[in-house]
Amino acid sequence: MLLNSLWLALRSIRRNLLRSFLTILGIVIGVSAVITMVTLGKGATQAVQTQIAGLGSNLLMVRTGQRQGHGGGAGAPAFKEADAAAILAELGGVAAAAPEGRTNVTVVGNGRNWATNVTGSTNAWFTTGNWKLASGRTFEAEDQSVGGAVCIVGETVRREIFGGAVGAGGLGAQLRIKQFSCEVIGVLASKGQAAMGNDQDDVVLVPLHTLQRRVTGTQSVATLLVSMQEGTDSTRLKASLTQLLRERRKLTAGDDDNFNVLDTQQLAETLSGTTQVMTTLLGAVAAVSLLVGGIGIMNIMLVSVTERTREIGLRLAIGALEREVLLQFLIEAVVLAALGGIVGIVIATGASIALASVMGVPYLFDPTINLLSFLFSAGIGVLFGYFPARRAARMDPIEALRHE
């Protein structure tokens, strides 16, 4: 009987190709949308978390300008190199303070070009940014004071320009940055995967004075990176840091701060909170498409309910048992739903992997969401495929046969 019903169900699926296809399509759309959205959302969350972890958790970033994201501090005076030294000397609980300047430049070496970010700072930058060297050395005191022609490259720059061994190739070679050439004295240990198109390894580090004198031609410092000692109260340090900078920047009591202090710990919480909200939101949007897919299936099934009812009446009249008819329609619904679910999962996996690589976020397989959306859509398929059939199979054959 099971075999018979299976055969009849497969026949029925083939016979009603359009209906079967639309049912499967409804499930595929719902399942793949939900899985893709949630998978990408989780990937993005993780990417943000990885990136923030890479920044170092005990970091304060000081920028010019009144508030974060407020025109990048145009108009407000820049910091000076001495500000960083003063912070380290005068405030308690500071592990390191690095002045930082950046510019985007195309660097040339080994016959190749690469547009990258050239950062000027001091050795304190390694502490504040949680950076390690894969090979080579940090700056000598003399490099820093006279602005020596030396540079340390990130893994991405090393790979693109020099190739060769990971973390070591290109050491000792020359790299041209605008008008001057520097010797590669070190390679930074990779921070790993690029997150959301923002590759932290895509960097060339030079001494601050080298950047100021040979690349940008200004004395200014855009950012101060302050890393706190373990167990320091970040709120209090922020307050005393603000006070110190106000004095050094000669602000009077009535003036607003013309700089802002960003706490990476806080940033991490805000950002991962945001991406989690985003994931939930995407999930909700996708759930709507699952629902729409479900309504589509319901429509298809209801439109065909008259034909199906008559067909069931006929089957009963020519001697099918109620349970044979039920089994056939149950199998049909389950096969369609399972097929749709599987295709949906396959499409979602492909789309997630592709979109994740485009967006630069990691692909994380999430078994829970795969299972949940599969079960939900399968449930809808079975609900709307099987229950109208069950109603018909319980009718008198002659009543079902005459159904209008």
Binding site: M1, N4, W7, L8, R11, R15, N16, E307, R310, E311, G313, L314, R315, L316, A317, I318, G319, A320, L321, E322, E324, D396, P397, I398, L401
Partner: protein, 258 residues
């Protein structure tokens, strides 16, 4: 044909003349309370194996109701129905279904073929529920289609067939199980005179050549003229039950037999 696999679960043969169907005081009430409608008001009817019976009467006189009871598609409200001596009125739904698949074949006014399904598959359907193997199903369906003159049309779907051809597919489906009784409720109701006569010729042939008992509802005297017994219903009762002394003979157009 002789080397084709035989049906393994065909109905046991019923000898011609043996009492097949007996209705005693059968009534049928539709609905309950104030809207209750007495569609059959006490029917007594005995039909022997091998008969060809036409049930006639005005619209609403209970012909279809009686046919549904005779075809074990419905049960009487009161009274007895004996089929080959067994009390049908007390059978469960499943037992009724098994009885239908074993002994009965149906032809409906509206053909009721499965859409988008080949003639061959439509005819095979009752055999699927009997649990026949694919080879036996195939052979039996092809044979049934040939016997209704549709050899070569196996792979056409209902949409590709005329009304008369569709009804012949339906007849092939009804006889593929080699039933004891063929029940047809207005089988020519949707067909023109020419097609109707072809269908009637077929039914008569099944009756005379294969010994299948044929029960047919019609309101057209020309079609009833093929039967050897005429039962008239009026208002839920049998008004008359007479033999037709001159059924339409093969080769003669209807209407000239009288």
């Amino acid at each position: 044909m002789s080397d084709a696999p035989a049906l393994t679960r065909a109905a046991p043969p019923v000898a011609v003349g043996q009492p097949l169907i007996r209705l005693r005081g059968v009534t049928k009430v539709y609905g309950t309370g104030e809207v209750a409608l007495l569609a059959l008001k006490g029917i007594d009817l005995t039909i022997a194996a091998g008969e060809f019976v036409a049930i006639m009467g005005p619209s609403g006189s209970g012909k279809s109701t009686a046919m549904n009871i005779l075809g074990c598609l419905d049960t009487p409200t009161a009274g007895q129905y004996l089929f080959l001596g067994a009390h049908v009125e007390s059978l469960s739904r499943d037992r009724l279904a098994r009885l239908r698949r074993r002994y009965l074949g149906f032809v409906f006014q509206g053909f009721n073929l499965l859409a988008r399904t080949s003639a061959q598959e439509n005819v095979e359907l009752p055999l699927v529920y009997r649990g026949e193997g694919a080879a036996a199903r195939h052979a039996a369906a092809a044979k049934a289609l040939r016997s209704v003159g549709l050899g070569g049309w196996e792979h056409h779907t209902p949409a590709e067939l005329s009304g008369g051809q569709q009804q012949r597919v339906a007849i092939a489906r009804a006889i593929v199980t080699e039933p004891a009784v063929l029940l047809a409720d207005e089988p020519t109701g949707n067909l023109d005179t020419r097609r109707s006569q072809e269908i009637m010729d077929l039914l008569r042939g099944l009756n005379t050549d294969h010994g299948i008992t044929v029960l047919m509802v019609t309101h057209e005297p020309d079609m009833a003229a093929y039967a050897r017994r005429l039962v008239h219903f009026i208002d839920g009762r049998i008004d008359s039950d007479v033999l037709n002394p001159h059924p339409v003979e093969p080769g003669l157009p209807a209407g000239q037999a009288r």
